[in-house]
Symmetry: C2
Subunit: 338 residues, 2 copies
């Protein structure tokens, strides 16, 4: 997250160590995204621009530092490799998500599908997944590859479950949470788990880190989903309103439909039936609807609860500057505007 | 290949051993394609129907038997696992290819994209890739995962190169061969290589097996591409004419455009400009064009040359029933009608 650079003064040393390690992650990443074929190389350079917040690598590295504390300099090559792998998997999902969502902008630039067509975007996403697994299989031991594989299975299952429930206006909260747990939280969870495991943490401690990552990941996704309805396209830097256009119900809308009076609910269902992301009227009406039932505040309170639980997962972890930064980062999820 | 069951009488014992091992591969495959989510489970059952010829698992197993000869019963769990992995990777590429080609039928049934939409097909393909890598990382040693990762990188590069050259009516033969070497031949090559390596073959012998697989794979793809123009949809069991409709030039058309007189070439370019796979007139005109320059015979002769080279790669390999069957299988590629 770019916001992690705006850290409190007492976090400056750990933030600097993190920033240095992130540079190594970027190098590992760029080294992988090479091809001897010029047209493929061009695509790799384009997709590199998608790297933004580097949330998942940050989680690997901070978990590695926190789990290794009070020892310093525990970040090794394995941490860097795993961090690069998690970012590649994430980029692959972004590229394929943009195909699914017919999104046109990402990180303020054109998406691959817009520039080069869906076909190229599908195969480029495959290429990123393949590169991620290839890099993962270069680690000394296989357990990280096994865990990453388990998690990418879950990510896909989450996406498939979400697609299955498109246009399901009766989608319940439990299913929504199941979807975001698999499609988003599991990857952030395994980033934290493997970061800790590579610093020699016991399986019990690894579990705490994973739990922190999953809870934070769910809060992050709730915030992300909320921004799709309430955000400012110029600030967020990507196409908005796509969830509703695609019949993808997220927490505020689920809550709204569950709590609205029958007439309001009926009006919202009519709106959803033919929702267009490029219509300011439709966007405004959706916003007004979820506001009328307090559903924005409800979604935020759920995110707040998950952030508290994430922080509590680290209660029994020995205190360190890295752990303190992880606690602050969890709070930062609630404040994010992009 | 279903045709491997129609073996010469002297191959009956090795064919029986192969068939038994293929059953174990199917079991390993089905065991992987499970999900606790009912809608995902439904998709897995659908995609299982795509398993057809099982060419890649057959290559792993026969190479394992041939490289281990004259010992019998050399096929172990690793062979079975690797065989299942290669088939999963292949299925993933089929599912995504069908999206790219907007194909409607596959193995005489509806494609996933037709039944459930492109979005589901994209993620289902990702799921298959993920499951393949996850299974691969369960092997005792990592070298197979590393090689599979290298090859899936190459497969994607081949696909991206092919997409880059869509509608390029000046595509040359070298680039065509580079495309099919990467997108098709590399996976069949690594299937043979890993089959041999798991039977304890030296790296020199592994290389011969890989070379056999790559040459056979290229011949196989040339035949496949030819069937897209000359085949009978009822016999082949999938949508035909898609290559020309999608601006994908394959060997017979490349040869035709290179050798036709200017007027014929001009007529063909007009035809390609607006080619529709569902038009019998267009299909007939394309067939007549490539016939007029002897381009069908030319493509077949290239396939024949590659089959000879594939067989020659096994010259120095000790003779065995499995090796003999591999030589016959190479010939069968030339005769395939589906």
């Amino acid at each position: 997250m770019t916001s992690i650079l705006d850290v409190a003064p007492e976090h400056a040393p750990v933030a600097a160590a993190l920033a240095e390690s992130l540079l190594h992650v970027e190098e590992a990443f760029e080294l992988q995204l090479r091809s001897d074929l010029p047209p493929v190389e061009d695509l790799c350079r384009h997709v590199e621009r998608y790297r933004g917040k580097m949330l998942r690598p940050t989680m690997v590295l901070l978990s590695g530092m926190a789990a290794g504390a009070p020892r310093e300099g525990v970040i090794g090559d394995d941490h860097i490799t795993i961090a690069a792998v998690t970012e590649m998997v994430h980029l692959a999902t972004l590229v394929h998500d943009d195909v699914l969502d017919e999104a046109e902008t990402r990180r303020r630039g054109d998406t691959v599908n817009r520039l080069r067509g869906n076909e190229v975007a599908v195969i480029l996403g495959d290429y990123l997944i393949s590169k991620a697994f290839h890099l993962c299989s270069q680690l000394d031991s296989q357990d990280a590859a096994l865990r990453i594989g388990e998690v990418t299975n879950r990510v896909c299952e989450g996406e498939l479950l979400q697609l299955h429930h498109r246009d399901n206006h009766s989608l319940d909260e439990d299913t929504y949470f199941e979807i975001i747990r698999r499609k988003t939280a599991s990857l952030i969870g395994v980033a934290c788990e493997l970061g800790a495991s590579r610093s020699g943490a016991s399986s019990d401690v690894q579990y705490r880190f994973r739990d922190y990552g999953e809870k934070l990941g769910m809060a992050f996704q709730i915030r992300d989903d909320l921004l799709d309805i309430t955000g400012d396209e110029m600030v967020v830097g990507k196409s908005l309103g796509k969830d509703l256009e695609k019949g993808k119900l997220t927490l505020p809308m689920i809550h709204h439909l569950q709590t609205a009076d029958p007439m309001t609910r009926g009006r919202t269902l009519v709106l959803l039936d033919d929702f267009r992301a490029d219509s300011p009227e439709h966007q405004g009406a959706a916003l007004e609807a979820i506001r009328s039932t307090g559903s924005i505040e409800y979604a935020l309170s759920e995110a707040r609860r998950l952030v508290s639980e994430a922080k509590a997962s680290l209660d029994a972890v020995v205190d360190s500057p890295a752990r303190a930064l992880m606690l602050d980062l969890a709070e930062a999820v609630l404040a994010r505007e992009h």
